[in-house]
Symmetry: C2
Subunit: 250 residues, 2 copies
């Protein structure tokens, strides 16, 4: 039997956001590999072995997945959101590139998912309705100077911005600096959306003008979206809508 | 009966990429509104009226959807991909903001979908595995000068880039200029992915070094992805994988 690795996105949490394509891959898997809480989202079936592991071991986990596929297993690597956005797909390819040559024959598929920024954007309205960028604010894997440069250039380009991993317990100072840079580059009224646990039962959505944001409004389960200069708020009885118009006038 | 507008994403084309949440909204709709080819993707059922319209009439279509919902209908507005990314959600909110005050009481939900850049990225590997931006290259709704500024700043920020609507029949010169700007700002070897009709039966994927790109490689059904300076290619018997590593070394 020929082995295979499918790297799939489970979406932000709500099971109604998992695509049928991903469901089908899970239904025929022999092994599921991933971070514990994501593996826990997969329904067990006969012949399926779960391999949950801690975070920060993405390369070990990827090597394990490729090893099992090389032995003929049908392996599914799970990420939350989309596997190609700050998630497992890049880690598996890194392990593949640095691994034994015979791994190059393994069939590998990436099955997309609803990434957190799209789920958060949908809950708020359409803040990413015009040009935007996505930045991973964690400085575990890149120097802070690059993050800072990107934030300043993104503000100059007038992109809406989506921030993944805004604030870790061990390195909370990055998000403090991020808000300082934004306050320095963007207007006081710029809408900022803090979307925590989007699509889960305990989802929280907070829309705050930039001047009133504080670092404690975000943690690692929060997606932060920042509007462009064009982003608007519609006040309504059921709560505000944030959207970025399609047009920019000359 | 209280009316409602659900603005939903049908994903890039393959029905296995439509979320169960969107399927459920379509199953209880009384009216489906959207661009003809997207409305044609919706399965008919008793009591469902289809309202297909041409492109470039997004505001008329949005007003129609809101009017029907104000009269108690269960209206679903369909986009391909994700409704919040260069699609119908921003248009509906623009119509809402400029419409009669009683529309503010209408329940409006945005249901996310798999946007084209994530589907294209998954087919190629993980080119958007690190920080990236998404730019609509159409200059119908914004001056070309803004697009050019964003391209130059995105290259300076070393974002991977995803281009929507790269090249229309009526204005093909924008993509010519886009490739010139990229060739001026990025290295010759920078990988560029042309993904046409992603997830459809006639999908085409082309991976080309920037120096060998030509404008005719894209049309309006093509998603164009450009790697960052860190993006790598793994050559394999089944075809290359393009991915952007998670790390940037100091």
């Amino acid at each position: 039997m020929t082995g295979r690795v499918s790297i799939v996105g489970l979406g932000p949490g709500n099971e109604d956001l998992v695509t049928p394509q991903v469901r089908a891959a899970l239904a025929t898997a022999t092994d599921v590999v991933g971070y514990f809480p994501y593996v826990a989202r997969v329904a067990p079936h006969d012949g399926l072995t779960m391999h949950g592991s801690d975070n920060r071991v993405e390369i070990d986990r990827s090597q394990h997945a490729l090893q099992m596929a090389a032995q003929g297993q049908q392996v599914v690597v799970v990420s939350s959101g989309d596997p190609g956005v700050f998630a497992m797909a890049a880690a598996v390819f890194e392990a593949l590139e640095n691994g034994p040559a015979d791994w190059l024959d393994i069939q590998i598929d990436v099955l997309p998912g609803i990434t957190a920024m799209l789920a958060a954007s949908a809950r708020a309205g359409a803040p990413l309705g015009h040009d935007f960028c996505a930045i991973n604010l964690s400085d575990n894997l890149k120097p802070w100077s690059i993050i800072e440069k990107r934030l300043r250039l993104a503000a100059e380009a007038d992109f809406a911005m989506a921030f993944y991993n805004p604030r870790s317990k061990s390195r909370p100072e990055g998000f403090v600096k991020t808000l300082e840079i934004l306050k320095d580059s963007c207007g006081d009224d710029r809408p900022v959306i803090f979307a925590r646990n989007v699509s889960h039962a305990d989802e929280e959505l907070r829309i705050v003008p930039l001047s009133q944001t504080t670092p404690d409004m975000a943690d690692m389960r929060t997606m932060v979206l920042v509007g462009s200069s064009q982003t608007r708020i519609i006040e309504r009885p059921q709560g505000p809508i944030v959207y970025t118009p399609r047009s920019v006038l000359e």
